[in-house]
Symmetry: C2
Subunit: 152 residues, 2 copies
DNA sequence: AACACGTTTCAATCATCGCTGAACTGCTTG
DNA sequence: CAAGCAGTTCAGCGATGATTGAAACGTGTT
């Protein structure tokens, strides 16, 4: 692992820790973006990032469950490999829809305690969520259409 | 503060703590969504939520700096009041653009360590960021147009 | 001026959560 | 069936960061 690679992993990790991710989680993500080969065993990841086997196991599982990383079995080799899923970033964006829906839910539940004064404080959130729930799917479609040009 | 209100504040707080916000920050947000009157002093907020004056002061400042909350002076009364800004939720969405740009930056910096194997791991992120940087502003415009219908 | 009230600041405390290390499971091979 | 390796689990440690409480500040009031 070169200095430049190390620096980049750090940069990615810094970004994602800023938005609330665990350090190890973020470092693994950064490493899987640039490592060679793209498929890595847990041991390789642990070695490259100087992380304990435990952290790698745990955080890798959350990566997998989020759909960012996939496990691959290389035939002839029994050790599991992990790699960034192709389209990983797309699915991050696509999953935004769930969060938007959750916000809509929050707004809807607010109906029970709607304030007389400036009820928009709650309703505005609902309208917004509805707007995005409508706009997001076509946006995702355009995204896929546009960015799949080179890779069919 | 009724039980229902308390419950709702808790629900909002739970949602936002899930995505990495501080508990007090999130509770204040929930309270400012449904409190009556909409304008509240720090002391009122602290009392309603059983928070210390210190937390309220600190977290309220971050709310203000994020543009979610604004301070208002009620004439005749010297104590400062705080309230949810109208259009608060809109500006949350609008500020997403900054995060998208940051992701684009991250991808661009990745050029220095671009892997030979599956370089899309990095470049895909850049394309995505570009796509959103282009799509976001018009989307925001449509959002404002559509949701401002009732409130000119 | 002195006081009262609202707000800010900050050091100390507390809680949370991620990380480590070691023990454990399961699989494969000699 | 023992040995070796990959991965998992979990208790305990450590660090980060939020919360508190008290003291300082400022502003308006008597």
């Amino acid at each position: 692992m070169t200095d430049a690679q190390h620096e980049y992993v750090d940069q990615v990790a810094t970004f994602f820790t800023m938005v609330g991710s665990a350090r190890a989680w973020a470092e693994i993500l950064g490493w899987l973006m640039i490592c060679e080969p793209a498929e890595q065993s847990q041991a390789q990841i642990a070695a490259a990032l100087s992380l304990s086997a435990g952290s790698v196991s745990t955080q890798l599982r959350t990566h997998v469950s989020l759909g960012l990383v996939e496990q691959v079995r290389v035939r002839g080799d029994r050790t599991q490999r992990y790699r960034l899923r192709s389209g990983a970033w797309h699915s991050v964006m696509a999953s935004e829809l769930d969060r938007i829906r959750a916000l809509g839910e929050l707004a809807r539940d607010g109906a029970a305690v709607l304030p007389r004064e400036r009820p928009e404080r709650v309703t505005e959130l609902g309208d917004l969520a509805d707007f995005f729930a409508r706009e997001w799917p076509p946006l995702m479609e355009r995204m896929n259409a546009e960015l799949t040009k080179g890779t069919p």
